[in-house]
């Protein structure tokens, strides 16, 4: 009786859980090792083994432990593991979830799916075949995925007569490779999965080996270190206000990726730079809490209401901020059928942001199976590329080496997750100088009691900037005043402002003769700051700028929320091809142009129907 109680107590205590992945080249025996682990730990449900044995008998195949995992029929037909299956077992120390990752190159995406969730990995190498392409590739992928706890299992030792010498040769060759990808394996274990040597029982046939069995190696892996000691980062998943359910709380929801926060902490959201203070943590069916940290899916309310949306990153004012730029140096592994090409547009998902980006440049492509550099003009399936990504709008992130969860992303091509990458460095772009000023400005901005939503409701319009461009300044200004008048007569709160208007007043201190190019930017910056104030006041601003360039737009976007900007261009006269929301010819009739502008404003929710 006493014994049973002790057993119960012991069982009850095992709550620790660890995800592990088993990777390696195809047919090197990963599934056999898993099957053996399950069998040795007494994990198999009754009847499961019998069903598979029966299956093998019917198909006159010899029984293999691997069949246990090949749970799906079409898999067994092909004899290869298709997917990263999950298998559960437990030892005296903890519960394990094994994410079986297929070794076949075609299924690299499944290998990554399994491996990315793991806290530790077993890398399996066939003693008979030695190190193969995917032994290297998977090693490199583990490094990119940030998995540093690795044990190498040299399987099928029975095929080389349990030879210590041959084992050592493989160990030394593979160790050299792993060093290059910055993986320092905990140990190398000689095993025979098929015959059960050194899986859970010490092998009597390899007396020369004094190290851990596979099971012991697993139990000696450490739980992933908490990220609570790093700076606080929480990508905003959503801002909830369930007024329809009679709930007036406005809750910023997300999962904390790193660091910790307490009630009263000053928070800055990036990239907007908006600031507020944590008022309370909210939860359902839980005692009131006053702090939260890495790993927790949480939600909090703010003392001052600010307008933020999904995709922003919450950070603490007292800690180092995330980086912010439009250009980043990254390592990308590509999984898509279609290669990743320069200057094509992709969506990048980073934290909860989804941002449009282009591949600006490829520095080099690494063959993941040899670590040789190859020269290619595009990143092909299964390649790893070191390259520069350029975003349309600035994004907030961290360098992977510093705060891993905020330093990695996936790439969407044609609806599919087609690649992943880690951020090595942030690169300066042309707007860095303005962005630094704006960050300062936003963090020191004195807040009003009126929210921008309240203004929008009152004015029956959302703030917006209509940037007009063309080559004839007089015609542009002429159009701008007509547009202002028409919107005004339609009941909108609107203001027209041109560069010329501020040149002699606000800009009187600028000496244009000194360094004209830089001063041109300073003029634009001041105009941008003024526009920012008008937009904050809830107005629709019309700003004509003759010969507007992409850089100019970038600069204005760095100062004004890009979602507020509509660019209207008069095509036949533009100096540079810019990405305009609306394009007109110089001689288009005003009434038609106006109708189309209204249509766009309505579609963007800036003005509401009925007009």
């Amino acid at each position: 009786m006493k014994h049973t109680n002790e057993k119960k107590q012991r069982e009850a205590k095992i709550n620790e859980k660890m995800n592990i992945v088993i990777v390696g080249h195809v047919d090197h025996g990963k599934s056999t090792i898993i099957g053996r682990l399950l069998s040795d730990t007494g994990t198999l449900p009754e009847g499961k083994l019998e069903v598979i044995r029966e299956n093998c008998r019917i198909n006159s195949k010899p029984f293999e432990y691997a069949f246990l995992l090949d749970a799906l029929k079409d898999e067994q037909a092909q004899g290869i593991t298709i997917d990263a299956a999950r298998v559960f077992f437990k030892t005296k120390k903890r519960h394990y979830i094994i994410l079986d990752a297929p070794g076949h190159i075609e299924f690299l995406r499944n290998m990554i799916t399994g491996a990315a969730r793991a806290e530790a990995a077993l890398l399996v190498i066939d003693a008979g075949e030695g190190i193969q392409e995917n032994s290297r590739r998977h090693g490199y992928m583990l490094s990119l995925l940030g998995i540093t706890q690795v044990a190498v299992v040299i399987n099928k030792m029975d095929l080389i007569n349990f030879s210590e010498e041959k084992f050592n040769a493989i160990v030394s060759e593979y160790q050299n490779f792993l060093k290059e990808v910055k993986i320092d394996p905990k140990e190398f274990i000689p095993v025979s999965g098929m015959q059960g040597d050194n899986i859970s029982n010490k092998s009597a046939r390899m007396k020369w080996y004094a190290g851990n069995t596979v099971l012991e190696a697993l139990d000696s892996f450490q739980k992933k270190k908490s990220l609570s000691e790093l700076p606080f980062r929480m990508p905003v998943q959503d801002v909830y206000k369930f007024t329809g359910y009679g709930d007036s709380r406005r809750i910023i929801a997300g999962t904390i990726e790193s660091g910790k926060v307490v009630v009263g902490d000053e928070i800055i959201f990036y990239p907007s730079g908006k600031k507020s203070t944590i008022k309370s943590f909210e939860a359902f069916n839980e005692p009131q809490s006053f702090a939260a940290e890495a790993g927790y899916a949480t939600g909090f309310t703010l003392s001052e209401q600010i307008y933020i949306t999904r995709g922003e990153v919450a950070a603490k004012k007292s800690e180092p901020p995330p980086r912010m730029t439009t250009r980043i140096l990254v390592s990308i592994f590509w999984l898509g059928h279609h290669p990743m090409e320069k200057n094509r547009e992709y969506f990048v998902k980073l934290g909860t942001t989804k941002a449009s980006a282009v591949l600006e440049d490829i520095h080099r492509i690494v063959d993941a199976s040899t670590l040789q550099y190859v020269s290619k003009s595009q990143i092909e399936k299964h390649d790893v590329g070191e390259c520069i990504l350029k975003f349309k709008k600035p994004v907030a992130f961290d360098v992977a080496e510093e705060i891993a969860p905020l330093g990695r992303f996936v790439i969407i091509d044609n609806f599919e997750i087609s690649g992943g990458g880690i951020i090595r460095e942030n690169l300066p772009d042309k707007q860095t100088w303005v962005r630094n000023i704006v960050q300062q400005r936003n963090s020191r901005w004195l807040k009003s009691k009126i929210t921008c939503g309240e203004r929008a409701e009152k004015y029956n319009q959302k703030a917006a900037l209509l940037l007009l461009t063309g080559s004839s300044e007089s015609e542009l200004n002429n159009f701008a005043v007509n547009l202002e008048k028409s919107l005004f007569e339609d009941g909108k709160i609107v203001y027209y402002i041109g560069l010329e208007s501020i040149a002699s007043g606000l800009d009187a201190d600028i000496d244009n003769a000194a360094i004209p190019a830089k001063n041109q930017k300073e003029h634009l910056r001041r105009l941008g700051e003024m526009i920012h104030i008008f937009l904050d006041a809830g107005m629709i601003v019309i700003a004509p700028i003759e010969g507007l360039t992409k850089d100019d737009i970038g600069l204005i976007e760095a100062m004004v929320n890009p979602d507020f900007i509509e660019v209207i261009s008069f095509l036949d006269s533009a100096r540079e091809k810019i990405d305009a929301d609306l394009v007109f010819k110089q001689d288009d009739e005003f009434i038609n142009v106006y109708a189309r502008i209204k249509q766009v404003l309505r579609a963007r929710g800036i003005i509401y129907s009925p007009w």
Binding site: A71, I112, Y245, T255, F284, A297, I417
Partner: protein, 300 residues
């Protein structure tokens, strides 16, 4: 909580946080989102997790496929908590098959086919809005024909990887083609908490927040949160209880004297069921292609 770090985070908190994250991603990305509620323990935990994720509310419809052969207590339970928790409840049924008596209890088709008609097809048609849907009207306290036939393009489902082989292959966000079919070999990659949330028109997504939970975790969580569950899971004095709930003609109870949640947890930990599959009381799993074939065609 302040002194804890992720390594000390309780295993249930860890599972809960991941599930909440997934539910919030689903809600942020899909407009026509629904959640299947079979009234069983897993999907009830899922409803509870939604209330956690959305601070007491479930801001999308719950969908129940009523085969008409469910144990009556399950339906009573469903309607009670629909009222108490103010759920937006949608119910669908394959009336055609029931009227034509094309069911296993009527003796006209085998178990797997019956499942296909009353569950798989009923589910597909309910999601697509091809058949009449009933929606609970809280003001009138009754079900009414749902005027909306808008298809659900994303569905949250409470499957767990440890239930049986094919479920262990699932992604958290798993695409289904326009016929609800599942292409196991061509699943998207899924890593770093980034899920497939972009999809071509015509396809839909199944979302699986409970994938990493085990049967024991489910019961531990029910105990911790005091989630109300159907009494069929507990022994009423006859030494029998249901371990998995389904239609009464095809679900049999297991021998057990567990009368409450903590006794079930004890029982699961003791290893009494360690060697018996959870769904062993579900007859359809054993017939023909079984659950795997059903799932490829769109079963949960």
């Amino acid at each position: 909580m302040a002194k804890e770090n992720a390594a000390d985070m309780s295993h249930l908190k860890e599972l809960e946080s991941t599930s909440i994250h997934i539910l919030r991603e689903a809600y942020a990305n899909f407009k026509n989102l629904g959640m299947l509620w079979s009234i069983g323990k897993d999907s009830t935990v899922l409803v509870w997790l939604a209330r956690k994720a959305f601070f007491g509310h479930v801001p999308f419809p719950l969908i129940h496929v009523d085969t008409s052969f469910k144990i009556p207590e399950m339906i009573e339970y469903r309607d009670r908590f629909t009222r108490e928790w103010k759920l937006n409840m949608v119910v669908g049924q394959n009336k055609d098959a029931l009227e034509k008596k094309m069911t296993f209890p009527d003796g006209n088709v085998d178990r797997t086919t019956c499942c296909k008609y009353l569950k798989t097809n009923a589910l597909k048609d309910t999601l697509a809005g091809n058949i009449e849907r009933l929606r609970f009207n809280h003001e009138k306290n009754q079900y009414e024909t749902d005027p909306s036939a808008l298809p659900f393009t994303a569905v949250v489902v409470g499957v767990r990887a440890d239930e049986e082989g094919s479920r262990s292959k699932e992604r958290y966000f798993s695409p289904r083609d326009k016929d609800s079919e599942w292409n196991v070999g061509e699943q998207p990659p899924e890593f770093w908490s980034q899920f497939k949330t972009d999809f071509a028109p015509g396809t839909h997504i199944r979302i699986h927040p409970l994938l990493d939970w085990t049967e024991l975790n489910i019961w531990e969580y029910i105990e911790q949160e005091k989630i109300p569950t159907v009494s069929l899971y507990y022994d009423q004095g006859k030494g029998m209880r249901y371990r998995s709930l389904g239609c009464y003609p095809c679900t049999t109870p297991v021998e057990s004297t567990s009368k409450n949640v903590s006794e079930i947890i004890e029982e699961l930990r003791s290893g009494k069921f360690a060697n018996i599959a959870e769904r062993s009381g579900r007859a359809q799993d054993k017939e023909g292609g079984g659950l795997e074939t059903l799932r490829k065609e769109g079963y949960m």
